[in-house]
Symmetry: C2
């Protein structure tokens, strides 16, 4: 930690003078004041990437959903809860040379958030109507004056890793896509991953 902080201060790495935005962790989408929809993301991957970019000399803005991890030293961490808050924070952090979207952003939020706790009545359980969240990766990958030179997306898949990943990379418009196979047990939140890296022309596997 001290080493990383000193190195970032000296600003000597190959990414010196570059600004990198990294999103990390889950998002929490409120149902009512006490309940929410979440996803399984510890933030370990995104936080590690942010620290690595800082160690390489980049100025790093880490935009993190709710995690149990400490803020990494040597970079700026912004805390958000929902997908919409994360999108606003990403836009406020632009321009950037590199964007790494490692957060597990919730695809959906509840269509309406209840202002008071929903009571368990005697009747049938409620049904939750959902609305689509903004697509942060597609938004930052879209052509425009503020598009970072390198945009890296992540995918968590439980089946058909290559097929889903290639489709996702093309649809989102990002340069690289890192696909994690989360089909096994204990991977999300754990420390090991099965990973596929896709670029426009190449693919590489790691175990």
């Amino acid at each position: 930690a001290i080493f990383a902080a000193i190195q970032a201060a000296l600003n000597k790495g190959p990414l010196r003078g570059r600004h990198a935005i990294v999103t990390s962790g889950p998002t929490h989408e409120p149902i009512d004041p006490v309940r929410f929809i979440a996803n399984r993301s510890s933030g370990k991957q995104g936080h590690a990437i942010a620290s690595a970019l800082a160690a390489l000399g980049a100025r790093v803005t880490l935009i993190s959903g709710p995690v149990s991890l400490p803020d990494p030293p040597g970079l700026t961490t912004i805390h958000v809860e929902t997908a919409r808050e994360m999108q606003s924070a990403v836009q406020a952090a632009l321009p950037a040379d590199i964007a790494v979207c490692a957060a597990a952003v919730g695809d959906w939020r509840t269509a309406t958030e209840a202002g008071q706790k929903i009571k368990k009545g005697g009747g049938a359980p409620p049904s939750l109507a959902l609305a689509e969240n903004p697509d942060i990766l597609a938004g930052i990958s879209a052509p425009g004056p503020q598009r970072p030179r390198l945009v890296v997306g992540f995918a968590a898949e439980t089946e058909k890793l290559e097929e889903h990943a290639a489709t996702k990379r093309a649809r989102k418009g990002c340069d690289w896509l890192v696909a994690n196979n989360v089909g096994g047990t204990g991977i999300m939140g754990g420390n090991e991953n099965e990973v596929l890296l896709l670029t426009e022309t190449d693919s590489a596997h790691w175990d």
Copy 2:
């Protein structure tokens, strides 16, 4: 921590020879392999109660949902994720002299859990059908040969604290009910509470 462990080992407190079951933390109800419904509970209250009962000499079984807290020393901690797992763990831990149900058990789970990650298609967002979870507090409060002598329930309310708490105590059949006002900001997950304690005949307020 060392003090509590020594004290529990010496077994000298007023609750010596008693068995206490304490539930703590949230439950996570899976939607699919990567998404779940959760509630805002840090487990701080339940874990603190479990440690206090152990310090008073009780043999404590702490049944905890997913929390970021370490297992307290001097007692047995059982880790669960869903409401149904918590109910099974409570039943397996019986008989007990005292049961403190401090966990924020999810009232509902999804009616069906998807085996694979639900994909975001081009169409309308899905709607989540919910099913009611088992009522752990009402179950353990019901008359029977294994009912603990003292059953303490908790309520998190955002409005009409006294009215909702009194109704809940009578409906659940527990001896004491501790009602937390979570209507303000930063209380769930925070370190301070506005609390109302209700027994069959009395009520007391703390701020």
